[in-house]
Amino acid sequence: MDAQQQQLEVYGFLFAGTLVMFLLAGCVLAFFILYQKRLFNQQLKMREMEVIFQESLLHGNIESVEEERKRIATDLHDEIGSIFSTLRLKLGQLNQTQQPEILNIIRGSDELIDAGIKSVRRISHNIIPPGLEMFGLVDTLEAICENLSIAEILDANLQCETPIDRFDAKIELGLFRVVQELTNNTLKHAQATQININLKQDQAGLHLMYNDNGNGFDPGILNSPQGLGLKNIEARINLLKGSIVWDTKPGHGLKTNIIIPVSSST
């Protein structure tokens, strides 16, 4: 009996031990699976938050840059521009009465003042185009195309497939900056002879299609330091809650499609 009991103990121990180890293994696995999931989600969340943070930094940056630009342009126009204009007016009061030398001085001063006014205008115009808020995006884009075509730099065309509403100032300014950057890029790097801009508005929003027949580029540079300007464009589009698609490769020109969700402002 003793031996048999011992046997049973042994086998009992064996079976129990095996079962215990089996359950232990199961527990380890269970813990592992749960823990891994939690850690992974945590990491995902952190990465998300970082992206959002970077994005908001960038957006804040863009907005503050634009605010500053507006301030500078406005101050230029209001303060310096107005002083020049007023000077002109005041000087004009002198015109009739004087002797020739003084008349000469007056004329000379007039010319200087005119130059000053022109200069302020040009600088202010380069910072923010004056007609953008008043006459709208389409008008300003037309002006860009006209200026390029007239200067015979290249052939630029704007086409509106559908009537285009006026939008919120931020959207119009943002899109203007994007087109400004795109045209600058085309002029600087693409050696193109033609630019086409196409606008269309439907329920999806405002569609802007920009293409040039220049050198194109490798879309891969978006992820390299050289693609910073392009990333800026994407950031601006992102700020407007829109989307942009690059369709280009070296030797095949550039085509981009931008969609901005809009509801017209008026």
Binding site: H77, D78, G81, S82, I83, F84, S85, T86, R88, L89, K90, G92, Q93, N95, I113, D114, I117, V120, R121, P130, G131, E133, M134, F135, D139, E142, A143, E146
Partner: protein
Amino acid sequence: MSENNIIKIAIAEDQRLFRACLIPILNDFEHLRVILEASNGRELLQKMETTTEAPDVIIMDLSMPEMDGLETTQQVKARFPNAKIIILSVHSEERHIVKMVGMGINGYLVKNSELEEVRLAIESVHSKGFYFNDAILKAIQTGMRRQKQKNFVIETSLTGREKEILQLICQELTTQEIAERLFISVRTVDGHRNNLLEKTGSRNTAGLVLYAIKNSLIEFEV
């Protein structure tokens, strides 16, 4: 036509310095009187609503805060159709001038104009309904040539007489002078003028000039 009556002027200009300088200068002229000043479009409209004397001519800047020149022009044309508008702006973009004339302004001046020209413009706009100097006309012409694709004026057939009158209007003759030239009555001239306005879809004389340029009925050699 001599100005027996005083021309009543309103000024909408956000640059305070400029405004403060311009008003006494204008008031110096005997036949001009500034009755109203505002620093932006909204203020202008408010004051025009409440004033007792309506201004004949409004001198307005394009870029003003709160309500810019474009919107203000639209509002003024709607609520005070008799007032004449002269835009006085630093900018002289061709396309914008063309657009503003299309909106119904009567004259366009750049801010560094001579004082004499400002006076002339006010008088012209008051008596003949438009004033554009040579440079502005050239700009309009160039601007319209480029916009040939967008015809916002329907091609119409004008009678020979109407074309004649249009020519004379563009040559800045007053109604009286036109009547004398063509040996017809002033009323007839006015009648033709109204027909012209209707047929060409113009809001005022300035629009007629625009139409004439666009359809190459007249060429301004500059």
